[in-house]
Subunit: 501 residues, 2 copies
Amino acid sequence: MGKKLEELRRLFGVVIDIDSSAGVLEWDQQTYMPPGGAQGRAMQIATLSRLAHEHLVAEEMGAALEAAESEVKALDPNSDEVRLVRKARRDFDKARKVPSEWVAEFRRMTALAHPVWEKAREKADFAYFQGPLEQIVELRRDYVDFFAPYDHVYDPLLDDFEPGMKTADVKAVFDELRSEQVALVREIVDRGTPVDDSVVRQKFDEQRQWDFGVEVAKALGFDFQRGRQDRSVHPFTSGFGTGDVRITTRFDPTFLNTALFGTMHEAGHAMYEQGINREFDRTPLGTASSLAVHESQSRMWENLVGRSQAFWVAFYPRLQEVFADQLGSVNLDDFYRAINKVERSLIRVEADEATYNLHIMLRFELEIAMMEGTLDIADLPDAWNAKFEEFLGVVPPDDAQGVLQDIHWSGGMLGYFPTYALGNLVACQLWAKIAEDIPDLDRRIAKGEFEDLLGWLRENVHRHGSKFEPVELLTVVTGTGLTAQPYLRYLREKFGDIYNL
Amino acid sequence: MGKKLEELRRLFGVVIDIDSSAGVLEWDQQTYMPPGGAQGRAMQIATLSRLAHEHLVAEEMGAALEAAESEVKALDPNSDEVRLVRKARRDFDKARKVPSEWVAEFRRMTALAHPVWEKAREKADFAYFQGPLEQIVELRRDYVDFFAPYDHVYDPLLDDFEPGMKTADVKAVFDELRSEQVALVREIVDRGTPVDDSVVRQKFDEQRQWDFGVEVAKALGFDFQRGRQDRSVHPFTSGFGTGDVRITTRFDPTFLNTALFGTMHEAGHAMYEQGINREFDRTPLGTASSLAVHESQSRMWENLVGRSQAFWVAFYPRLQEVFADQLGSVNLDDFYRAINKVERSLIRVEADEATYNLHIMLRFELEIAMMEGTLDIADLPDAWNAKFEEFLGVVPPDDAQGVLQDIHWSGGMLGYFPTYALGNLVACQLWAKIAEDIPDLDRRIAKGEFEDLLGWLRENVHRHGSKFEPVELLTVVTGTGLTAQPYLRYLREKFGDIYNL
């Protein structure tokens, strides 16, 4: 490695140390921090964020970047070196548009908003959270202005999570999906053979749920030497380099799916980060390509693996052993149908695969309305409920099961939700390619063997970190850019079968 | 508050945010961090430490300090404002002598040394830890040089923990103590009625130990809304401002004292930090006056309260309820004698009050020898064992129960141990004054009432933070500087009674 690139890496290493330290503080905030820590934690996070930003946008960094750019000019454009410099340039240029003071204020505000959201959710009362959310949306509008001109006010937000993606692109994909997905759900409800999921809605001891989840996560390939699992209000994955990637889960004592599929979902995220080339630690390449790619990994392990018949051929006997009273006399086929029940449900993270994207689309539309200023925050609960009825045919009984269910807005993460739906598409697109490369994939999963699958993902996706932008990565791996077709095919096939359509 | 002081506070707030963030990272390192996180964590902590140091010694800080000094010149020398500026000056001047690079290297090295020490301890083999310790002592010698000239090579280390105290002062106090304490222990062993502690050496369920410890900590006044308890290899207290002060404990399934008195000890530390004036958060005054004062609080709650007969009048019935099989038929007096058994034991943190300071004195002498260069690190285990036999009449069977038992050296904390012995003295000196101010203290403790005691400590010690230096604080509160007499009187009285001397 050249001297100039070395210097760029050194400077970036400091930025990433600070950022990942703030990450640890945020993880702690959502897992173990006592209530009294909220104010101090907000200050710590704000200070670290400002410092990270100051170091990122420093003149010294700009100079190091230019020097590195000219040093690597003659190298292979696909080399790690060139890619590292390119990613550093993108991060630097974006950060330069934003004042450090905005970053500190945004982080301070969102750190303070988190416990308020938790309280509002606990009380099922949006009114508590309205003020903080108004401030957050206001700050997000200021943020967007730093990137003017733009095609759409939502574009700069989206680009933070999905490099290169435009609001118009998402709208186009969603328009294509919506009609198909609404039609599928209607068909299932109107014409399908009803599915009974009462077997997963019994009492399940929390410690046993925990133990079984850990057993599954280990079997999939989550490395507990380089990670751990804890409890939190909202499940999430948080990585501080490839050596320390943590997941959280939550439990519903009367619903098996919550923790079980939640753990597989987060393990999917975490295995992605654990699989990034270790050489990329403390460099701009040591992150996911995008959040849609990240979500493709979590959704793949949760759904394409975890909700498949093959997976339960391997794991159902063990689950029956753990919950003998509840599942001892339930056959595999009934269990498989139960965990795949399609319904017009309230909670996104527990939604079935057929309705999931509808939950996303309504959030996307609400976020756009908030950012465009056509929706007052005070009116958000009503708008949520109205759109919920329109998209899913049900109205949440309270705000906790409605507009307050997700953590994202309290963290200021507007622009994030669409990546969930895109992630489902990416997962299926990758899966089609994997099925070609590993012809007996189903048979292996049915034996509880995931090494080849994980190996494929490591080789083709994980290890690259953010060396490739998402569409570029998809094209390299599957031969085409983002397409919804594999996803729609998968849904029709799977649910056509379960519901005898 | 004046504008200049405001600016000084703002600048210091940033330093403290970074420092307390590093504190959270260190807490996490010792409680939840997976093994794979060690390298990354070392870099994070090193980076944060360097940044905190850079911000502390910045020209901007020096200018703000001078401006604030002239702004507060006319104010009462005992006002918070003047004291804040004085403490800031001390912190600034000391930090200016040390290069930021040394700080980063020291913190990186000690962060890496921690898991090595844990492993060495697990394997009971000092050889694993020898290399890191050599590097740490080397770094500490470099550190001391920054403060040359000094009377003694150990002085600059001691001054970090005990502002204003000299090695010669400690030697003088220890010389006075040693003969008296050795004589007392000999008298107990040679002439005393033997004490049987088998009742505390039975099997005690860990979860019940945990629950009882939490119950006691709450009763004493530890605020779980502004703190928490976790498990760690070595118990410690870590505060990140008055709103978030955490303790850890560890369990011995066959020895009740370990967790029980460990929890009271750490709760004592934590209540000190929880009791600091909240206005001092994020200022140089928001810390303890010194480590001896800190230790006086932990030892007071652990011993003067927790190992008193009065305390167990209140709590023994409850403990008997929790451990009915083990203690149901043991009377209070036998239990009281068991928890106060004097013995030539191996582990400092579990040592009785009569021998405790001997554990400290031997460490103090070894640290001085290491710093003076008269003891090779390779010879440390032998020197430890020889001195142990000399001071306590026993030889540790292995390094885990000997030279590797304490975390301090892996954290580079040389100069720290003497403060433990001094803390015992301070505790007794304060206690004598408390007994005057709260004449029915014993009766209150016997009813499980600690509000007045905690209130007295809050008012006279806690709230001041580091507004007063330790000897100054002692003088204000008790009328005299540090004296060993109340401590020696307390020991003779208590153990004379228990051992019928």
